[in-house]
Amino acid sequence: MKLTIKSLPSLVLIAVMFTACNSSGTSNGNRGALASTAAEKVYVAPGEHDEYYAFFSGGYSGNLTVYGLPSGRMFKEIPVFSQFPTNGYGYSEETKPMLNTSHGFVPWDDLHHPDISQTNGKLDGRWIFVNGNNTPRIARIDLKTFETEEIIEVPNSAGNHSSSFITENTEYVVAGTRFSVPVPQQDISIKEYKGHFKGALSFISVEPETGRMNMKFQVMMPGFNYDLSHPGRGKSHGWFFFTTYNTEEASTLLEVNASQNDKDFIAAINWKKIEEYVNNGGGTKMPANYAHNVYEHATHGAKSTMLKEVLTVDPTEVPGAVFFLPTPKSPHGCDVDPTGEYIIGNGKLSADLTVHSFDKMIAAIEAKKFDGEAYGIPVLKFEDVLAGQVKSGGLGPLHTEFDGKGNAYTTFFISSELVKWNVETREVIDRQPNYYSVGHVMIPGGNSAAPFGKYAVAMNKITKDRYLPTGPELEHSAQLFDISGDKMELLLDFPTHGEPHYAAGIPAEILAPKSQKIYRLEDNKHPFAVLNGEDTRIERNGNEVHVYMSMIRSHFTPDNIEGIKVGDKVYFHITNHEQDFDVPHGFAMIGANNAELLIMPGQTKTLVWEPKQVGVWPFYCTDFCSALHQEMQGYVRVSPANSNIEPSWSLGE
């Protein structure tokens, strides 16, 4: 064949077409001359959508952030445990009850581990559960509205860290305590730790239709530190596994004193057995005091209820329900592979990973091959439950996720790397450096029975020089890997907000179609809502003043208010009358000692304002809602406390 000048351009064109096909991501991991670049793999063209949602815990931000993968673009911050002046969460009268606890109003927490609801071990995308580590709480976020719907406080707990992981049909969301504490709390010397402190493992049932949470029972374990956990799945469904450290039961200088035992434990809990026990009347009801806060979308408001009792279970009274699996060197992550056979203890002070076998564990239990007991709980022999160890060559293994193709991906904090290994052979396949000191890794669905093994995101604890410097305080850094081939390929660095401890990813096609656009005004059951402009009004009750206000492009009704006095407590109840997607309005009042409100179409929110100075004070819309946004404003006349001006209101007069 003669290569003419004419045919050259067409050959070039064919080459371009091949490259273009490759970059669309249909041919996974094909390397060679036609391989696409990392940039092409993460490029999501303007107007196009990402393939996955990724929910990153915000750590000490107290909130959850939503990102797209593979682009690494942040879409939203969902307020959960922290007040959020951006939209008034935790400041508005409707959402203040969400942050109520037995310690009163707690406007912050340390949000750690998101987990998406599952059906038959597969992500179903109804809700995402997260834990507050500091003042122990579990929250449920609705994945239609991306709003926090429910928060339940966990009694008898402190440092709610081995949480919030769910069983394979979302029967339970499980919360284990990291710090053991006296149960019930009492005034005793800290030196009396040993034997007096307990570690509560809480099983919170989830109502299948509504997602409503209920503290079903707490297993009162010995006073170790319960670090992380994961459910059994498939054949091990019905079990839950918790790593422990500080089996030394030290209360001081834990970095030394809790690192003395060569082996700590993985606690294996047969929750089905305990569930049966409590359903048959087992367990002890003990007095407690913990908050249950529920937000209703119908009323756009939350209610907080204090619960006064919790059902506790002494594990020694349910034979065959709880066992200890010796696991080397203060294991941190506790991860179960998609088949449910392997339970991986990431011994953080070790170079090796411990892989336990569920089948061997059951065989050892049936053969009663125990190596003594701890506080009445049978301890199995290490050799009897061990499937094998991964000689990783790394240092400081923390967490493991799975790709559904027989591979596991473990993070190593100290050696700062992500290591891929084969679950069956336990041979290392690949290792890639992380920048720097990786904590968790996340593969969408990577802790479920059906992972989507295309991308892995490493969440690094140390950022240093990865971005332009921004003074001493830096955001954390995540790294996206393509794991579709044999070798992991680093694609992208992107900053993450707060300190992500773990994340949860899910294909966009599961969530995007059901994402809600507006709240229907006619379904608004808020007690202070005004559904049409004629009902706007002001009601005075002593020094309490209720302003029933509505907003629509581009005015407030009413926008001239008189008859407010110094010393009044003014409640602005504002309903957004828009029924159009992405047309929120904001409300800001000069001198308000709280925050603004950002009100979605069809929603009602309430801000309290306590005017302290006589005068005429403006309020305005904070969200650039329309071409006449700058005109969307109003005035409140504030008169002296002793004046007798009756409330009046108007619009356009």
């Binding site: 507006i518 629509i552 492009r553 828009e578 029924q579 159009d580 997607f581 071409a627 006449l628």
Partner: protein
């Protein structure tokens, strides 16, 4: 003539589709509305393509002083049009039936078609008058009073047929399912006339 009668019946009954499907549709897309707003025009009233489209179109139009989109009770057309369509459909079917049994000849089919065509043109004319009024009878206190480069005030009459750019909106106005059913039905009655005419010629 039997075949012609059947076609006449089918053709005229297709008008009944207007009770189920929109006659016309106007879509409004803009940079801020990647999913365009739209109104479906039925012979019984105007409905939004999506639940809140009418409310949102009215909300946007208030800036330029346009009237709100009329509710069914606010226009006599929405009472009269259904009546006219129903009468025409039934009378067409009766004519077809009589034709089928050879009681009347094919000229009746053409007569029906002619009447329907006249009524249709009148209807379109009326619709266009409303569009003109809707687009030009503007509130003198409108928030935005736009002016053409030549100094004349801008008006906002949507096109009767086709596409037009109006400020930030791309407006597309086309017949919808009910309209297409009506046109098809009228076409069938015309065919019925020609078939009837030919069969008569053959018989002769």
């Amino acid at each position: 003539m039997k075949k012609a009668g059947i076609l006449m019946i089918i053709g005229s009954l297709l008008l009944l589709g207007l009770f189920r499907f929109p006659l016309w549709n106007i879509m409004l897309g803009a940079p801020q509305y990647p999913d365009p707003l739209g109104m479906d025009i039925y012979i019984t009233g105007i409905k939004g393509v999506n639940e809140f489209d009418i409310q949102n179109i009215d909300g946007l139009n208030h800036y330029i002083g346009m009237q709100t989109i009329p509710k069914p009770g606010e226009m006599w057309e929405f009472r009269v049009f259904p009546l006219v369509v129903a009468i025409m459909a039934v009378s067409g079917a009766i004519i077809g039936l009589l034709g089928f049994f050879g009681k009347i000849n094919h000229w009746w089919f053409l007569g029906w078609f002619g009447l329907m065509a006249v009524l249709g043109v009148l209807g379109m004319h009326d619709f266009n008058l409303w569009l003109s009024d809707y687009g030009t009878d503007l509130d003198p206190h409108a928030i935005m009073k736009m002016i053409h480069p030549n100094g004349t005030p801008m008006t906002y009459k949507p096109p009767l047929l086709g596409h037009q750019k109006m400020l930030n909106f791309d407006v597309d106005s086309w017949p919808h399912t009910g309209g297409y059913l009506m046109f098809t039905g009228m076409g069938l009655t015309l065919i019925a006339f020609f078939i009837g005419k030919r069969s008569k010629n053959i018989v002769q």
